[in-house]
Symmetry: C2
Subunit: 246 residues, 2 copies
């Protein structure tokens, strides 16, 4: 079966309280949704819908944030927001702040992002991206009568390799990890350790049809065989105690 | 444009000297190749074609390998091969060996893999996956007259997040990182840091139609707009000096 990754363009700049699902259902370029489709939404559009946009002129940096900012050549108000959004700092070096967000994600700048938002503003990650995904899924069901899975994606860097990839920060209606443990390989040997983070792979696939600058904040992933099981984004978060790099 | 990810089944168990491109071109399930298609091959099938398969009965472990193996509950001969394939060990804990391979990849077990290979044998990574990709590309051109890009993929774990994803270990005819630096976002602001590792995302997309146990070692990625530039897998390898986690 050929897997299809279908871009959905939304021309409108999303504002707090806008209805992204409604806009998506009206999008001209999009095919009819089908049961079993997976919809990938960028974090940015969901953060905007949910009002997770901060006017920097309303942020008063602490002395700590001001100090870090002066050392790193950053805006102290942005640093303040990064500190506010972080549970703990993991690495801070060469102008890069890697922290663990309140959700448990390890990423640069705690998801505080100055791109694709009006000047003088930044977006924060959704407060609870899992809940956001659940709401989107229910809304698609209510408005279009279609059973889909939802993934909210963001662009994260990673150790060891250059470049960033899109990964999942929230999901609903899909199992995040396809666990081959217990299944047999083509030699009849039981596979021991392969557990594929399929939702991250789906976000990466979706990114290939999105474009940072061109109003494609949604992709439909079609013909992926969803099984009955569902899971939580928490299944993707490696605990500090089992992480060899914290 | 809808991106298509098309699985290509190869039923035959690949042996050293087999011709993977020839088998692919004969595969029944596959559509006609087109100029601009991206072909993703799993490391396993390329390693087998290139004879990177080791009979463990021919490996004599050193005392170091035997010591590590006894501590970790591993086969000392497998540990020996991991040491042989590694430039340096990055982490060794809880039965997991993370090392930097001779190619510069940071991954578990230096790519030494016991799955989907006959019992008593393991596969190693291709000696030079970039060269492998170049050869595959030339062969497709020579045999089918089609200009494609080639990526060789492998399944790697990563820090911070559970589950593994497919990433590139060799490529030809494609730029590994799509660099948005210097382009403008939808507010006209110049994007500063977004550099997407598109070849890793393409490998992840391809994995979604492959299946560890079901003879789908190749995927065709169709309708991705390849630009004229090409690059090297080296562009994806973060140097130790710029890596915050080594």
């Amino acid at each position: 079966m050929v897997l299809e990754i279908i871009p959905v363009e939304i021309e409108k700049e999303i504002k707090p309280g806008d209805n992204v699902v409604g806009l998506m259902l009206l999008a001209k370029s999009k095919p009819q949704l089908k049961n079993g489709d997976i919809l990938v939404f960028t974090q940015k559009i969901i953060s905007k819908q949910e009002g997770q946009v901060v006017n920097l002129s309303e942020v008063t940096p602490t002395l700590l944030a001001t100090g870090i900012a002066s050392e790193y050549g950053k805006d102290p108000r942005v640093v303040q927001l990064i500190l506010d959004e972080s549970k703990r700092i993991i690495r801070m070096k060469s102008g890069v702040i890697i922290s663990e967000t309140k959700h448990g994600f390890v990423c640069a700048n705690a998801g505080v992002d100055e791109s694709n938002v009006q000047r003088g503003h930044v977006t924060l990650l959704p407060v609870n991206p899992e809940l956001s995904a659940q709401k989107l899924r229910k809304e698609v069901k209510d408005k279009a009568g279609i059973e889909v899975a939802i993934i909210i994606s963001d662009t994260f860097g990673r150790p060891f390799r250059e470049g960033q990839t899109n990964v999942a920060i929230g999901l609903s209606g899909i199992l995040p990890i396809s666990d081959y443990v217990g299944t047999k390989d083509s030699f009849g040997r039981v596979l021991r350790v392969t557990a594929i983070a399929i939702v991250d792979e789906i976000c990466s696939a979706a990114e290939l049809v999105m474009n940072k600058s061109r109003n494609t904040p949604i992709a439909i992933v079609r013909n992926y065989n969803l099984n009955e099981e569902i899971g939580s984004i928490k299944d993707l978060i490696r605990s500090k105690s089992t992480d060899l790099f914290r």
